[in-house]
Symmetry: C2
Subunit: 241 residues, 2 copies
């Protein structure tokens, strides 16, 4: 299905899917679907339903499930971006574009040079942006967006991943292609804040097993680095075409 | 030089560089450089000067050139993005991020499903955004941003490039890595509008020698596709780390 997906986390009952809340209102009032229309719905956990609508009301949309798929259009590799918290809407841009590209999880990180905190309201907004991107990009698995953690906490989570990489602007050695393991099922890639990492943070990351790589001699804004890294990683792993 | 560059297109005379206009005001009043400070200046055409300031006034900043470099931090390959005109600020986002990443030229294109026109005022704004990105990313060659042309005009310019590729959302075949020639000195990559290309446009591009590639099964917004393609192309050519 190439069209926009709708989102409803509730599973079907006896082959009937019921959508309520704002998504029902959107389907009925904004898109103005009619009884008999066939729509695509995902639960954001991998399931995708083709649903023939039997009832279209602003508070309740329901229909029969014609077919079910699992994990359609999802990448084969799990790419997690640990992004230092950025000012303003920049972290939302990262969450939006990373979701479209196929990133599995985003971990906002507080580092020494991070400016600002990630409030509960900002975190909720990041998750809303990511959900909108899931729907527009026809993904079926909603990326997890963690609450922000300190770099020390990230170092402890590090061994959940087959490989941990860090984009370091002082690195003059290998690029991403040279360090990325093609057989890693899951990779964590750490991207710094606007002001970069402190050398002690890079040391701590390396001690925890991270491998640093260079994005070349030009200075990239953090959000450009994050999107470039997501695209290059998924591309090199064969998950972007 | 890792710091932000200043921009002044005028060449030095007898080893003295003079900066006037808004850039002089920025250096004197915003950054508040002092006599004796050493700054980096690029002419946007490849030259980069290390300048020791001897005069700092809001309308005139001048100093002695300590050293000159050419083409520092520039990619070895010329990557041109032909991007269908997008609504609102989305084309500005493409110009900003493509400049940071190292794209050489951006050609806005009017296609069948393009919404809106690229006015002279919008084009001027794209160039201003690209110039700001040149300075923040420490590039020394300002990407050319053409006035918008029709797709037919682009097809005629096509043979200026060693290879022409088009990201096509209906393509189910090869990805970028499979089609990109590593020995191409210059590559033109065409990215469609929000609504995609019409099949007749893809046919015309292929007849003109373009090779289509897939960005995978997820739907990317046009600006995400453009930035992903710029990053993946420069990465695969060895120009991004």
């Amino acid at each position: 299905m190439g069209f926009e997906l709708y989102y409803s986390p509730k599973p079907p009952t006896d082959g009937q899917l019921v959508i309520t809340g704002s998504e029902a209102r959107h389907i009925a009032r904004v898109i103005r679907h009619k009884v008999g229309d066939v729509i695509g719905v995902t639960d954001g956990a991998g399931a995708e339903y083709e649903v023939k609508l039997a009832e279209v009301k602003a508070d309740r949309v329901a229909g029969r499930v014609l077919s079910t798929q699992s994990g359609a259009r999802e990448p084969k590799h799990r790419v997690t971006i640990a992004q230092a918290v950025l000012k303003g809407d920049r972290l939302a841009q990262v969450c939006e574009q990373a979701t479209e590209l196929g990133v599995s999880r985003i971990i906002p990180v507080q580092t020494a040079r991070t400016v600002g905190r990630l409030s509960a309201a900002r975190l909720a907004r990041l998750r809303a942006v990511s959900l909108a991107a899931l729907k527009s990009s026809s993904r079926t698995v909603l990326p997890g967006i963690d609450a922000a953690i300190e770099l020390g906490g990230l170092l402890k989570a590090n061994n959940e991943f087959d490989q941990t990489l860090v984009a370091y602007e002082e690195e003059t050695g290998p690029g991403l292609e040279a360090v990325l393991k093609r057989d890693a099922g899951s990779v964590l890639i750490v991207i710094g804040p606007e002001g970069g990492f402190e050398p002690s943070e890079i040391d701590a990351l390396k001690t925890a097993g991270a491998v640093s790589f260079s994005l070349g001699p030009r200075r990239l804004r953090a959000e450009t680095a994050a999107v470039a890294v997501a695209a290059m990683t998924l591309g090199l792993l064969g998950d972007l075409g």
